[in-house]
Structure formats: structure tokens, C-alpha cells
Amino acid sequence: MIVLRALLSRLVMTAITLFGVAVIVFVTIRVVPGNPIAMMLPPGATPEDVANLTALYGLDKTIAEQFLIWGQGVLAGDFGTSITTRQPVLDLVLGRLPATLELSIMALVMAMLIGGVAALTGTRLRGTRTEGGIDIANGMALSVPDFLWGLILILLFGVLAPIFHISGRITPSLDLPFVTNFYLFESLLRLRFDLWADIVSHMFLPALALAIPLSAIIGQLLKQSLKETMHLDYITLARTKGYGENHIILREALRNAILPTLTLVGVQFTFLIGGTVIIERLFSYEGLGNMAIDAVINRDLPLIQGIVILFAVIFTGVNLIVDLTYALLNPRLRHA
């Protein structure tokens, strides 16, 4: 019963967060000094052109009324139509979402691999020069943001030693048999490894750029958590039982050290998704983030709102999942 009540209050909080985000983005855009419509019409437009376009988008009503109309629409799944492309916002957004999700998941996997290996090696070789080296690398990876890593990777592997593609999501010339927009996964399902390799070659550098700072955070958190766990009595006890260091780290310490790191990875994952905005722009990768920048530059209000709300839904969704997995994995809570 307690878990149900906890879940309910968690959902209420999620709703408040989403509502808060919606209000902020809705008001921020409309507090524009100038009139957004005026900025979009060609210079020669007459005043009544401006008037009926304003009416069309309901911008003549008060902000509160607009919010209500828009809110009802959103709850019914209608996010309004994009000003620049005249297409429903929902279709545009859901069309680009798979690309961003694939990139984020690939970056997360990379980050967990790099961070995990760094933490385990650092723990296993405590006190040696290697650990010192890992710490310095971690420090640098952490303090330099994904934007710079993206540029560095473009220079290194795009120009100096062109191994990977540095722009776009797939070589345009190829004919695409895909039904969904999940190119990476669908190419695997269709066993089209040629296409898969091409897509990976396009995604590798942007994913790595996103993964480097995240891997440093995961690496440091996991190593710190492992270090604290290694001092506990049950680890000392395991040593007196005759177990070797590797067994102790992997079989006894890791499972307890991972739990606290997991919750923070959840939070960092949402920053990762946020990070795709600039990385997709840098690699001209056709994802949600890239579209968001264009939407803002073109003052496409409905599209901006749609994208921001979707990001917020992803953020709160990921956090919810992380909280639940933490509860399931942690034996103490599992019996709550």
C-alpha cells in the first residue's frame, strides 16, 4: 500500500513540475517587447494582415486565456500548428524525437562504459600512478563541456584523421527502407549492417562528445561510492574469508556502490538530453535539439512550446523510472 501512495504523490509532483514548465515557457515567449507576428510577416505586410494573423493564432487574447486554450489542446494531444512549416507540432516533434533519443542512449551507454571502466580500474589500482592518471583525465573530462569536446572531435576525427562523418545523421544518397524514424534500431532489425555502420559513423562523434563529461561524472561518483563501500566491515570480512581483490570489488562492493550512482545517472541523463541541443547543431544532426534552435530563431511559438514540453516530459519520465528502479533494486525498499 505504501508504495502505491508514494507513487501517487510522485505523480502529483511530476504534474506540478510539468505545469510549471508549461507556464514558464508560455509566459516567457509572450512577454516579448515586440509583437511576434510582426517579426514573421514580410516587410510589405499591411496592418490588417497583421491583425488577422494575430487573431488566427489567438494572440489578441490575454495570456491567461491563451494558456487555457492551449492547455486544453495539449491535454487532447493537439499542440497547435507550427508557424514556419504549417504542420502539426506533435508530428514534427515526434518525427525528430527518435533521432535525439538514439543519440542520447548511445551517449549514455558510452558514458557508462567509459565511466565504469575508469572507476573499477581506479579502485582496483588504488594508490598507483595509474589511478592518479585516471583522476586527472576525469578532472579534465568533467570541467570541459560537451560543446568543446564536440569541436575537438570534429577537428581530430573529421579533419586531421577523417575516420568518422562530422555532419548529418546518414549519408543522404542512400535510399532509406525505414518505416520508423529509429534508423539505428530499425537498421539492426532489418539486418542492414551496411546502413547501420553508416549511421553509427555519423552518430559516433556527437555521441562521444556528449558522453565524455557524463562518463567523468559517472566515473567519479562510482569510484567515490566504491571507495566508501570498500571501507565497510563486510568487505574486510570477505578478505578474511580468503577472497581476492577482484572478486571482492565485483561481487561484494559493486552491487552496493552502483545504487547511489544510479539515481545521479538518472539526473545527469536529462542534462545529456539537454546537451543534444547544441551538439546536434554542431554536427548538423537532424534531431529535436537542432529543430529547437531553428524554432527559437524563427520565433515559432507553438513549436517552441511543444519541444520544451516534450523535453520536460522526458525529464520527469526518466526521473520516475530511475526512482522506481532504485526502489526495486534496494532490498530495504523492496519490502516497504
Partner: protein, 289 residues
């Protein structure tokens, strides 16, 4: 031939500060030896040195630890770890952190029997059930399937004692096993440990700062100050007339409710300076030796 023989064991911190100073002591088979001293006296360091769990910053610079005739310090690490795993066990201090929170209790008792001693799973589980019964834990079956957080502090300490005796080790190091417990629970645990030690005939090295506990549980004791053994005698002799002035001062400082006036007398300054001089003399001898 005594089962455990420590000769001239000397250890220092990485910055050169000595932690153990030329410690020599021997423990006969089935003997209960107390290691007593104030915090920082190095008593638990000796236990950790034997079990090979010294903190990374402490290094043994000289001496031998002979277990059943073999000097553990001369063995390669893997061999030494296996030898300790087979013939020694630890009863830790804090029952709340001595059991892995995300593993069930059963495997934490049987894993050593199966992985290190090569028993079959069924024998190991049968052994675990017997030992849990011996430490008076009701429903051993259910307890083996439960997680540590579902059990009380006292219960967990019993499980750790059962786990230590399960492998029939020849030597058990008990590192302040009851300090974290209430005095009423401490009494039951101490009686339990003493009882099992007698039944299993295991040599027991009992590390504590509490002279009362030593008088109840141990046969012989070594008193330590700043990593140096200042006195090494049998319990009855010690409590009737301790030989070393520091031991006498320690006994006089211990609170005793039956004699409020005499107990709790602070250790005189003179005794401290004298024992410190003794330590300095030992350092000079060791420096030249």
C-alpha cells in the same frame, strides 16, 4: 608448540611513524588471549596484521607471524590469503555494517565454505543451519533467506559469530565484538562467544579496551601502549596485582560501581612520562638493531 607465534612484529605508517613496536606474543591452541589498550595503542592493528587486512597506509617492516608453524608474512599474497581464509576468521565490531545489505544472510555464511574450502553447497547449508541453531537463532531457515536490514543488531552479531565458527577455523580474531551493543545484549553475546570457543576449541584473540570484559572472557592478556606490549600475563594474576605501573593506573581509572571512591582515578602524569620513556628507549634500541 603454540598455535600462533608473533615475533618482533614492527609496523609503521607511510610517514614513518611507528604503529607496532617489536610485538611478540604466542597463543596456544584453544587459548583465549586478550589484547587490551587505549585507542591508538595498536591492539586491533595486531589482529589486522594476522588476518592480512592492514590499511594501505600501514607497512610491516620487521617480524614474523607464524600460524601453525608457517610464517604468513613470507608467503606470496595469494597463497597467504588462501591460508588465512582456511584457518582464520574475524568477528567484526559493528554488526550493522558487517553484513552485505544487498545479499541474503545464508550465502554470506556458506560462500567461504563452498568457494574457499571446497565444500558442496548442501553440506555448507546444513553446516550454516547447525551453527545458526547453536547461536540460538530461531527459525534458521527463514533467517538464511532474509536480508540483513530485517534483523536486529544482536541477531546480526550472532549470525557473524556463527559464520566465523562455521569454517572450524583454528584462530578467531574478535575485534571489539560488543562495543556497539547495549550492556544487556553484550552479556549474552560474550557468554555465547565464550561457550562456542570452549566447545569448538578455537584459539581466540580478543581485542578490547574494556578490562571488565577481559576479566570475564580471557585466560591470558597483553597490555599495549603506543604499539608496544607493556605487560603479558594471565588474567587472575593481572587483576590481583598488575605488574606494570601503566597497567595499574589503567585498572584504577576504570569505573567500578561497587567501589566508586577508588575507581575513576585519572592516570598520574608520572606514569605516562615513564611509559613514554620506555617506548623511546625501545625505539632507540630498534633504531640501532
Amino acid at each position: 608448540m603454540s598455535f600462533l607465534e608473533i615475533r618482533n612484529l614492527t609496523a609503521t605508517l607511510s610517514n614513518g611513524m611507528p604503529i607496532l613496536r617489536d610485538v611478540s606474543l604466542s597463543v596456544a591452541a584453544a587459548e583465549v588471549r586478550g589484547l587490551v589498550g587505549e585507542s591508538g595503542a595498536g591492539k586491533s592493528m595486531i589482529g589486522k596484521a594476522i588476518l592480512g587486512i592492514l590499511p594501505r597506509s600501514v607497512r610491516i617492516t620487521r617480524g614474523e607471524i607464524r600460524l601453525d608453524g608457517t610464517d604468513l608474512l613470507a608467503l606470496p599474497p595469494a597463497e597467504r590469503r588462501r591460508r588465512i581464509g582456511q584457518s582464520c576468521a574475524l568477528i567484526p565490531q559493528d554488526p550493522l555494517t558487517a553484513l552485505n545489505p544487498s545479499r541474503r544472510v545464508g550465502p554470506q555464511i556458506t560462500d567461504r565454505l563452498v568457494d574457499i574450502l571446497g565444500w558442496t553447497r548442501s553440506n555448507a547449508e546444513a553446516r550454516a543451519r547447525d551453527l545458526l541453531a547453536e547461536v540460538q537463532i530461531p527459525e534458521p531457515e527463514r533467517v538464511m533467506r532474509s536480508y540483513p536490514h530485517e534483523l536486529s543488531g544482536g541477531m546480526r552479531q550472532r549470525i557473524l559469530i556463527a559464520s566465523a565458527f562455521a569454517a572450524e577455523p583454528k584462530l578467531i580474531v574478535a575485534d571489539e565484538p560488543t562495543t556497539a551493543l547495549d550492556v544487556t545484549v553484550q552479556k549474552q553475546i560474550l557468554k555465547l562467544i565464550a561457550g562456542m570457543q570452549a566447545r569448538h576449541g578455537t584459539a581466540l584473540l580478543f581485542v578490547t579496551h574494556d578490562l571488565g570484559v577481559v576479566s570475564k572472557v580471557c585466560q591470558r592478556l597483553s597490555v599495549l601502549y603506543a604499539g608496544m606490549v607493556v605487560e603479558d600475563t594471565d588474567v587472575r594474576g593481572f587483576f590481583s596485582a598488575p605488574d606494570h605501573p601503566y597497567s595499574r593506573a589503567l585498572l584504577a581509572a576504570t569505573p567500578v560501581y561497587t567501589d566508586p571512591e577508588a575507581s575513576l582515578t585519572p592516570v598520574p602524569e608520572a606514569v605516562i612520562t615513564a611509559v613514554r620513556a620506555e617506548v623511546a628507549a625501545a625505539d632507540r634500541r630498534a633504531g640501532r638493531g
